[in-house]
Amino acid sequence: MSGLTLLFWIALPYVAIAVFVVGHVWRWRVDQYGWTTRSSQLQESRLLSIGGPIFHYATFAAIGGHVLGILIPASWTAAVGIDEGMYRAISASLGTIAGLLVAVGLLVLVYRRVSVPRVRVTTSRTDVLAYVLLTIVIGLGLGETVGVNLLGGGYDYRSTVALWFRGLFLLNPRPELMVSAPPVYQAHVILAWLLFMVWPFSRLVHAWSYPLMFLGRPWILYRSYRRTRAGRREAAANR
């Protein structure tokens, strides 16, 4: 097993996961004030209202596709009557639609960010890094789905990439499964790990704040100083 194999398929994933987890804990604890979408809709609304929803909804679809293809074992889908040929037809067709929509949304958003001066000046270096990584990762993902699985001969990543990925979390890494994968799959995975390492330090953290708590919440919220810890302490001291 070569050093590069170890580096890319064992060391990098675990480092990335560590940075991702520790980074989020650290950011959550020290930087609530910076935890925001950092929306630029105030400055530009027309392009955002096209690109924003397309990108986000298509990304949800793409994430769902990854869950289906990577996290769920092939044996499970087979158990419900979906054989490999049927799975590939579904994932290649729906994956292509989702992937192309993600790309279209991203193109609109990147065009907006570059060509609208009001938006461009709000762009930080972290934003640029996140945008570049996102663009490459999405481009490579399209290469896999459209280039390999839709137009090309197809590649059964569920018997290699998926097994390797799940092995990482079962503490049973099998790097040899990735060595034989097509380069486009290898590159997609490596860049994705880099993106996960940038994630906690960028505006991408807003993804965890999608406000599901809004469901079932009373309309009007009150806060009372008396009911805070400091308030109760003071009330007790004054008694």
């Binding site: 950011r27 004030y33 972290t126 009007i220």
Partner: protein, 538 residues
């Protein structure tokens, strides 16, 4: 009955001269930071006009505030939770920065560096967003004193339905000023619209605030507020709004806009209200009845039953005493002179307005002389159309405006007769259903407007004080380094100084008396000597 206390404000539009001192001092205290350049927690609009942001009063367009659904239930006009979660990636109702006015500055340095030339050098406007030269097209105060009104004023939503009656040509033009801050509503649609639960009302005094650490920048508060008084800081990515100067209020001091108002037209006071009746009041079918519904939510601080409930709810006795002296109670409830801004938005606002009197259009029969018949006859010929004020303050109920204007005119007529001619016009007083001493009391409160009667603000109690330091930003962002240091420092409140614990127990040992101990007040900020706490320990 669930008694709660609420700070409120009344502005007497009769006295506003449009000097913008409130706006400027507010800006210097609260919004002179990066990303808030376009933000005016307090602004003064000339009416008629589109306002700031452009046309904000038109809820058919902006969809702020509340409405009733087919079955008469209260619903957010901008849609419920599901719609918000689905449209969260691009808020469909968010104003653009151009609706507020792109912030700009000038390249002043050019005045010093321009080469010698035949003509004086001029400075050019540069956008504060991009740094590039920009054309000035709109601003928070673009329509000051009806500037450009022939082009913009016809778009004023308050003119709808009365276009026939209102003439905007020069001879019959009218205008007045409308200073605006956050309404700190009893039923705030911004709070209801916030997906993150970052906005809240303070239980102790009703002030509406944004928790800067919980805000995630989804912007629905901005579109949800029908008054457009929540703003998006375009540098920090967080919502910000008028704080009712809570650090000053906690110390028993008026808000900075009130303190510096040269017209002495702002009143601050405490109101007691029944929190259990808020939703029913906001759900009243007829918009013209919303004002009365809100008045019914307020509780009479002189009622012993209310006092007992207030004590049970933990409201200190000196706060109830302050509510009894509240100028808001006097103006809004007792004499009914103050009216809520756009009650039809159903947010039950807590900043109310005394409508302005104005000269009569035809000066041939000036109502001077105190004849109430003449005064009342003139109300409908005032330069500011009653119907316009009605669309602004009573959801279209012109008769309610006439009642108020008659009372205001009666105060003038009565005092003119008394001070110029030395006679008491009982008839004037009784014609508006008041006694002469009522008119004298109103004259004192409205015209003399002594400081201590305008601002009746009990200081916060140490054990009740909403320091809320957890809601105040003290850090800077990780992915946007170094630009928020200054702004965070501007927010720091760790200078809070509480009295030494137990100091109120100093002094003579408690005797057998049943008298309650003096209230343990402790101002959180001590900015001037006169604000030392009462109760013998200051």
């Amino acid at each position: 009955m669930r008694v709660m206390a609420h700070v409120g404000m009344v502005m007497n539009l009769d006295k506003c001269i449009g000097c913008h001192t409130c706006s400027v001092t507010c800006k210097q205290v609260w919004t002179n930071r990066p990303g808030t350049d376009y933000v005016w927690f307090n602004n003064v609009e000339t009416k008629p006009g589109l306002g700031y942001p452009r046309g904000y009063e038109d809820q058919d367009h902006w969809r702020g505030g509340w409405t009733l659904d087919g079955r008469g239930r209260l619903r957010l006009r901008g849609g419920g939770v599901i719609r918000k979660l689905l449209t969260i990636f691009a808020n469909p109702d968010l104003p653009s920065i151009d609706d507020y006015g792109e912030p700009w500055t000038y390249d002043y340095q050019h005045l010093f560096t321009a080469p010698l030339s035949e003509h004086d050098p001029v400075v050019r406007a540069h956008s504060r967003l991009t740094g590039r030269p920009t054309e000035l097209r709109w601003g928070s105060n673009w329509e000051d004193d009806l500037a450009g009104a022939p082009a913009t004023a016809p778009g004023d939503p308050n003119l709808r339905g009365i276009e026939e009656k209102v003439r905007l040509d020069y001879e019959q033009a009218f205008m007045f000023y409308l200073p605006r801050i956050c309404e700190h509503c009893l039923n705030p649609s911004c709070v209801a619209s916030c997906p993150s639960g970052a906005m809240y009302k303070r239980e102790e005094d009703g002030i509406v605030l944004v928790d800067q650490d919980k805000c995630r920048g989804w912007r629905f508060c901005v579109s949800g507020c029908p008054y457009k008084k929540v703003y998006f800081n375009h540098r920090s990515g967080k919502a910000e709004k008028c704080t009712f100067c809570y650090p000053r209020i906690e110390n028993g001091q008026p808000t900075i806009c009130s303190e510096t108002c040269v017209g002495r037209l702002r009143y601050l006071g405490l109101m007691l209200y029944d929190a259990d009746r808020v939703e029913a009041a906001a759900s009243v079918t007829d918009p013209a009845q919303l004002r009365q519904a809100q008045l019914d939510v307020f509780l009479d601080p002189n009622d012993p039953a209310v006092q007992a409930e207030a004590r049970r709810a933990g409201i200190p006795d000196d706060w109830v005493a302050a509510a009894q002296r509240s100028p808001i109670w006097t103006l809004a409830v007792r004499y009914g002179l103050a009216l809520p801004l756009h009650p039809e938005f159903r947010t039950l606002p807590m900043v109310w307005y005394v409508p302005p009197l104005s000269p009569v259009l035809d000066v041939a029969d000036d109502p001077a002389g105190g004849d109430p018949d003449v005064v009342f006859h003139a109300i409908d010929r005032l330069r500011i159309p009653v119907e316009y004020l009605a669309n602004l303050l009573t959801a279209g109920d012109a008769e309610a405006i006439r009642v108020v204007l008659r009372r205001l005119a009666a105060v003038r007529a009565f005092m003119r007769a008394q001070q110029v001619e030395g006679r008491v016009e009982d008839a004037v007083a009784s014609s508006v259903g008041l006694a002469p001493r009522d008119l004298e009391a109103l004259y004192r409160l409205l015209a003399i407007a002594p400081y201590e009667e305008r601002y009746v603000i009990p200081p916060a109690h140490a054990e009740r004080a909403a320091r809320l330091e957890e809601s105040v930003s003290t850090g800077c962002s990780v992915d946007y380094e170094d630009q928020f240091q200054a702004s965070a420092a501007g927010y720091r409140l760790d200078m809070v100084q509480l009295q030494p614990r137990g100091s109120e127990r100093a002094g003579p040992p408690p005797g057998p008396s049943d008298a309650p101990p003096p209230p343990a007040t402790a101002p959180l900020f001590v900015w001037r000597d006169s604000a030392k706490p009462a109760g013998g320990n200051g």
